[in-house]
């Protein structure tokens, strides 16, 4: 048996592996490839991006979105009013709410961590300090479950560089290769169609947790329609300089870990969930491993 790397290299060098390709495959693949390349040059810029540009240039959807945000904040404050004045994520009440809804801790299955210890601070402005301990449980009404599993995903990048869009809702949250999807550089977004209206209590997103890194301009929106004009609301926004043009974000940047980022959606009613990002501290490209949307069928 081999003793070290050099030994192993010699063994591999002696292996008799039949790895000669067939000329037929080579030729036919070449033809297919050139055909795909030619077609890709004929396609216009992605429809969803231009559609969004059109929508966001108009003041009406902006006003509607602002009104919806105000209404949702008021409703959310009523339904999930905390016992004291600390943050919502930490202290969602375990007792029945004023409306008598019984709350239970969400059962969020976490993947195996890919790095050990508290993540080192990356040089990013307005960065959340690592908690240094497991995230506290998040409480939601009885019957709340991940309603995004297996649901269709669309994106500004319809053909990801790596992986497939359906992996984002396939339940696999592991950080290893073969689990993450790489979307193109700079601003990209994806949308999950939950296929029905739900009251959404939490959204958990794993961008990439093989190493600690920070993704920029993370904006999470929810709405009743695919164009994000009906009941549209923003549940998370750390685009602090408004580079996406969706409004100045007040949420902090955060370092990716195996726990994912849990976003308190405060029970908003929606069918479509959209997640934006704009590169990360290591590369310009965008990644997603999994997105979970915890909700209950809308009443």
């Amino acid at each position: 048996m081999f003793k070290n790397e050099d030994d192993f290299k010699k063994i591999v060098g002696r292996l008799n592996i039949d790895d000669k390709p067939s000329p037929g495959h080579r030729e036919s693949l070449r033809r297919q490839m050139i055909s795909v390349f030619d077609k890709s040059g004929e396609e216009p810029i992605t429809k969803s991006r231009s559609l969004r540009s059109t929508i966001m240039k108009s003041p009406i959807p902006k006003l509607a979105a602002a009104a919806a945000v105000i209404i949702i904040v008021v409703i959310g404050a009523y339904y999930l009013k905390p016992d004291d004045s600390t943050t919502m994520v930490d202290i969602v009440p375990k007792q029945p709410t004023p409306t008598g809804t019984q709350l239970v801790a969400l059962d969020i299955k976490l993947p195996k961590p890919m790095f050990v210890g508290t993540p080192q601070d990356v040089k990013v402005e307005y960065l959340e300090k690592p908690l240094g301990k497991p995230r506290p449980p998040f409480y939601a009404p009885v019957g709340t479950k991940n309603v995004a599993i297996g649901k269709p995903v669309t994106s500004t990048d319809e053909f990801p560089i790596i992986g497939k869009l359906e992996w984002i809702t396939d339940g696999d949250k592991e950080g290893a290769d073969g689990s993450f999807v790489e979307l193109g550089p700079l601003e990209q977004h994806l949308t999950i169609d939950l296929e029905a209206e739900y009251n959404i209590y939490a959204i958990v997103v794993w961008h990439y947790h093989k190493e600690p890194r920070v993704y920029f301009d993370v904006v999470v929106q929810a709405a009743s329609d695919p164009d994000f004009t009906v009941n549209a609301s923003t549940v998370f926004n750390n685009d602090i300089d408004n580079s996406l043009g969706l409004g100045v974000g007040k949420d902090m940047h955060y370092t990716e870990t195996a726990e994912g980022k849990l976003i308190d959606a405060k029970g908003i009613r929606a069918r479509h969930v959209r997640l934006h990002s704009n590169g990360n501290t290591t590369y310009d490209v965008n990644h997603y491993i999994e997105v979970e949307v915890y909700g209950k069928a809308a009443e």
Partner: protein, 190 residues
């Protein structure tokens, strides 16, 4: 000196092909010819079966064709790293499914018993492949890139988006694990 200059000119030519491949089918075809065999071999080393390797090679190059227009790299090295990152992920995506992994293991086991001229004291390819396939997918990729593609740690680190120092330590551990497995795992366990 002349040799170094010639190498530099050749490199610049290859970099130009990469830049032109974003808009010209002919340049993309040249890249294809340069890399087809390497990627096919990589797939055979990751997936054992030549038939499966052909399928996955096709997926890889079709993905390259649909994405090359937005590829941000400028040099042949950038292209190579990008291409291998796609290849590694597509191969891992293929063996992610347990049923497929089992089929590949069965195929490797079948080749072991079929090979009557095999000298059991020498490590043969099906036996080594079966042991590698039991590692996690990232570790399998590291082994393939380092020993079958003969890549430097620096390049593997770029392809896998990992730190070079971490890779060296990881490889040391993988080899230890692989050695233990090869010492104990034989056909009966497959």
């Amino acid at each position: 000196m002349v040799g170094a200059m010639a190498k530099s000119v050749k490199q610049t030519d290859a970099d130009n092909i990469v830049l032109r491949a974003r808009t010209e089918a002919e340049a993309l075809g040249q890249l294809y010819e340069l890399y087809y065999e390497r990627i096919f071999r990589f797939c055979v080393h990751r997936l054992f079966s030549k038939e499966t390797a052909e399928d996955v090679t096709s997926i890889i190059f079709l993905e390259v064709a649909s994405r090359i227009r937005s590829f941000g790299g400028r040099t042949e090295q950038d292209f190579q790293n990008w291409l291998y990152a796609i290849a590694a992920n597509q191969a891992n995506a293929y063996i992610r499914k347990t049923s497929r992994r089992k089929r590949l293991l069965a195929e490797a086991a079948g080749s072991m018993t079929d090979n009557t001229t095999d000298n059991s004291s020498e490590l043969n390819w099906p036996r080594l492949y079966a042991a590698i396939l039991k590692l996690n997918s990232e570790h399998q990729t590291i082994i393939t890139l380092r020993f079958f593609e003969n890549m430097e740690f620096e390049q593997i680190a770029k392809i896998l988006d990992a730190r070079e120092a971490t890779l060296r330590v990881t490889l040391h551990r993988i080899l230890k694990k692989l050695r233990r497995r090869l010492e104990t795992v034989f056909e009966g366990e497959l």
